[in-house]
């Protein structure tokens, strides 16, 4: 690995972390629950990227395993969301709690 590579990897990692910070704005603002969840999914991808960069920068191949696990599992929360809560357009009383796919169907 060339000399300049390590600082470059660090800068790249910090930059990806910066995009995660930007993604957090979408989580905070919404407006719908679907937007928030989707942003969280995207941040999961960002975290995988950061881990891959760090694995090279610090020469720690074990971090590839962490990235692998994150990549595999980031979708679980999304799947629970889609099955249990559901994507709905923002409501009039938005921000007052989640909505269910069908209210009170039991």
């Amino acid at each position: 690995m060339p000399e300049w590579m390590t600082p470059a990897l660090w800068i790249a990692a910090a930059a990806v972390l910066g995009t995660i910070a930007l993604g957090l704005v979408r989580v905070e603002r919404g407006p719908s629950n679907g937007d928030r969840m989707l942003a969280a999914q995207l941040l999961g991808t960002g975290a995988v990227a950061v881990l891959l960069l760090l694995a090279r920068a610090t020469d720690a191949p074990a971090l590839l395993d962490v990235a692998l696990v994150l990549a595999l599992l980031a979708c679980v929360a999304g799947a629970v969301f889609v099955r249990r809560i559901g994507v709905q357009p923002p409501e009039r009383d938005e921000g007052r709690g989640p909505t269910r796919a069908t209210e009170d169907g039991s």
Partner: protein, 330 residues
């Protein structure tokens, strides 16, 4: 591993603190839960930076995957009214001022004691690394969990078992209305499930000499189980088969403890030449048990749904949630 502080660390710490606070203070609980999930993601980056990849693996699997799934599921079951909270859930009121002052006082005292600690310390790193040869594995964290402090880990598997016993003791819940079968989910399951099984096995195996091990593998398997449950609802009540798998890890661990105590060495004293194999056996059993326990914690106990529409899948009648006699195995 580089131990200098980078710009990266400063950004990460700021994000962690902001997310930690928003996960607690967002008025909308759904938003709070999503922020908590992202908090878990970033926390695993922090563990990586602190040189704890084993912890990062567990956090990635549990914090980002399973805990988020549990929280979202609970929000869905609470419904709109149950998930509503005050407009300023943590706003300062006279009663809360005292709590805030106590929390700040504790923080100040903790900072003062942290600053008084020496910059470098030996910890138990040296004895832990020196004894590694006799422990049967070459990953010091696995050696600590399954050899030096195996008694802690044995009891901890018991804690997991108790959590699922506690959930079984509770009354069955009304079943959620079942959304239509989702082709995407089926596809996801078909791709991901084999992968989670393979990677879980890999983590279990690699745990002997690199980050990984039973907890991490189990959390991964459990995430696969949660996906399965979402696609084809499982019933994990206290049926004989489920109980046997739940108890397996604890029983094997305890049996090894008894065997080592009776046959010589002493409680959980593994002969160095067999330690590696013994640890692998314990971990394999524990991984199966922990994975099933975690899925059972997510599945909970549901009453039979009012609509009899059972999805097309392989989930036959025996897998109807909360069937009268919970003797049905998945």
């Amino acid at each position: 591993m580089a131990a200098e502080v980078q710009v990266f660390d400063a950004v990460l710490v700021v994000l962690l603190l902001w997310l930690g606070w928003r996960a607690l203070a967002s008025a909308d609980l759904f938003k709070a839960v999503v922020q908590f999930i992202v908090f878990g993601l970033l926390l695993s980056l922090a563990w990586v930076r602190l040189g704890a990849p084993d912890v990062a693996l567990a956090e990635a699997a549990i914090g980002a995957g399973l805990a988020g799934a549990l929280l979202l599921d609970t929000l869905a079951r609470l419904g709109r009214s149950g998930a509503a909270d005050e407009a300023r859930p943590l706003g300062l009121t006279p009663a809360r001022t005292g709590i805030a002052l106590a929390a700040l006082g504790l923080a100040a005292l903790l900072v003062a004691s942290a600053l008084a600690l020496p910059e470098r310390w030996p910890g138990l790193a040296e004895p832990a690394l020196q004894q590694l040869r006799a422990s049967g594995v070459s990953n010091p964290v696995t050696a600590t969990l399954l050899n030096y402090r195996a008694w802690d880990t044995l009891l901890e598997v018991g804690v997991l078992m108790l959590a699922v016993l506690g959930v079984w003791i509770l009354e069955a819940e009304p079943a959620l209305p079942r959304p239509a079968p989702d082709p995407m989910l089926g596809l996801l399951l078909r791709v991901l499930l084999p992968l989670t099984v393979i990677v879980a096995g890999y983590l279990l195996w690699v745990g002997a000499h690199a980050p990984g091990g039973a907890f991490q593998g189990a959390a991964l398997l459990a995430a696969g189980g949660v996906l399965w449950h979402l696609a084809r609802p499982l019933s994990l009540g206290p049926s004989p088969v489920v109980r046997a798998v739940v108890v397996l890890g604890f029983a094997v661990f305890l049996a090894v403890g008894v065997a080592t105590a009776v046959l010589g060495g002493g409680l959980l004293t593994f002969p160095p030449e067999h330690a590696g194999a013994i640890i692998l056996v314990i971990e394999a059993a524990a991984m199966l048990s922990i994975a099933l326990i975690m899925v059972a914690l997510f599945v909970g106990r549901e009453r039979a749904p009012s609509d009899a529409g059972i999805p097309d899948s392989a989930a036959d009648a025996s897998a109807v949630p909360g069937a009268p006699n919970p003797g049905a195995a998945p």
